[in-house]
Amino acid sequence: MSIRGRVAIVGVGETAYYKHGRAPESEFALALRAILSACEDAGIDPRQVDGFASYSNDRNDPSRLAAALGLPELRFSNMQWGGGGGGGSAAVGNAAAAVAAGYADCVVVFRALAQGQFQRFGSAPPGGTVSGEAALTFPYGLISPAQRFAMRVMRFMHDHGVRPEAQRAIALASYHHAQSNPRAVMHGRPLSAEAYDASRWIVEPFRLYDCCMENDGAAALVLVAAERARDLRRPATYLLSVAQGSEYRNAARGHNAPTYASASFTTVAPHLWEMAGLGAKDVDVVQSYENFTGGVLMSLVEHGFFAPEEANEFLTFDNLIAPRGRLPLNTSGGNLAECYMHGLELQIEAVRQLRGQSTSQVESARVGLVISGPMVTPVSSMLLGTEDTL
């Protein structure tokens, strides 16, 4: 038994995307607007929503959302454990499971961020002492997410002879796609290979453009059962599979994960393919969470698109861009250039591709992959398909 083909994404929506700290209203209001936008896209009365799922300790409590929206009843509320963007696809999977199990009929997956109103990611928290995992890392200046993940990528690049140009191609593809996307924060701000090469180091092996932006905004998706989806206004986008987790002792403290040079998908990805009955060769377009480009690189390896030793050859700008690249990647601009909506903009872009609504459309896209949150634990990924993939 699986959720394959049983649940569909029928509505997607987002607020305008803002630079970090520039949201004109509160984070909670942003969440409400994204949810209403997704319901409108679906043609569903918001009062029909009866569940919410999110991830990464989203601050916008489902009970408050239900009260604010005047929902007749709340039947499902769910928070995926773990930080970073690792829960993006898992939250969709959790919502789908609730629909398939009959816990709820219409579940919204959402994420809202207005970091200017709260503690910023990537900056050291105030206060003088640290304990636990942080005690082993912070005193040595190993503090931010970029610093936390750089050594995984450094080891991977060392082991497999991966060159910096492979990371660069990922950044250039995102920026290229953002130029066609009016929603993108970096729309109108193209990136050249020369500008990438001249950009400053954040932490080797990551330059400035290898690192995601920080942004304000909110995004949401509406899920219902497949049989109901067929009566709604948009072409339904079906979940073919979802998988989450991480490999053996991934969270061993102090960087003691046995499979260290990994995006954490080595055990997750096989479950994803098995549930869908598909393989990497069947995928038309990929949205892969860029906290850092090196994480995308390892994610694609672990999902079977190429062997580590083929990374230099596969990861070229031409291969990664829509409409006709070998594997069009992050076709809205993603976390690097559309918006760091903690990855949920990637789920929305995957839906738009399968509806034929992307601003960098891949011709006749039928199967889309979303990869969420490399190098954290748990991570997650999901496969979406059009009606004819069922």
Partner: protein, 147 residues
Amino acid sequence: MSAPAFVLPPGMPRPVPEADQLDAPYWEGTRAGELRVQRCRACRGFQWGPEWICHRCLAFDLEWVAVAPRGRVYSWERAWHPVHPALREHGPYVVVLVELPEAGHVRMIGNLMGDPMQEVTIGASVEAVFEPHDDATPPFTLVQWKR
């Protein structure tokens, strides 16, 4: 007397043992100039980071043992962007992940001493150097690494 030389500037976050004391023997060890990790009394396997149970045999019977303070660079990074106020005027520094072949290949994190622009080689041999912060409240000792 000149001020003690630390790899990173003053004002970095200061380590304290966890409230449940899980890692207290590690920090007591560094004060005594010892690099201590957990070892299971039942299956004799090394374990790091610290946990209440042995992940191999599930015995709640872990002791703390001093291990040879030497290892090999498993990975590294050179950090440039200052993410903590104490690092704002400091410039780049090197963080190394060191595996300890004589202690079950557990890994330790520290800074690589010397020129921050030095070439770093994965697999290079390194030795631990204890960096006491005696004037801190409470006092603590970091473990740094040198070639």
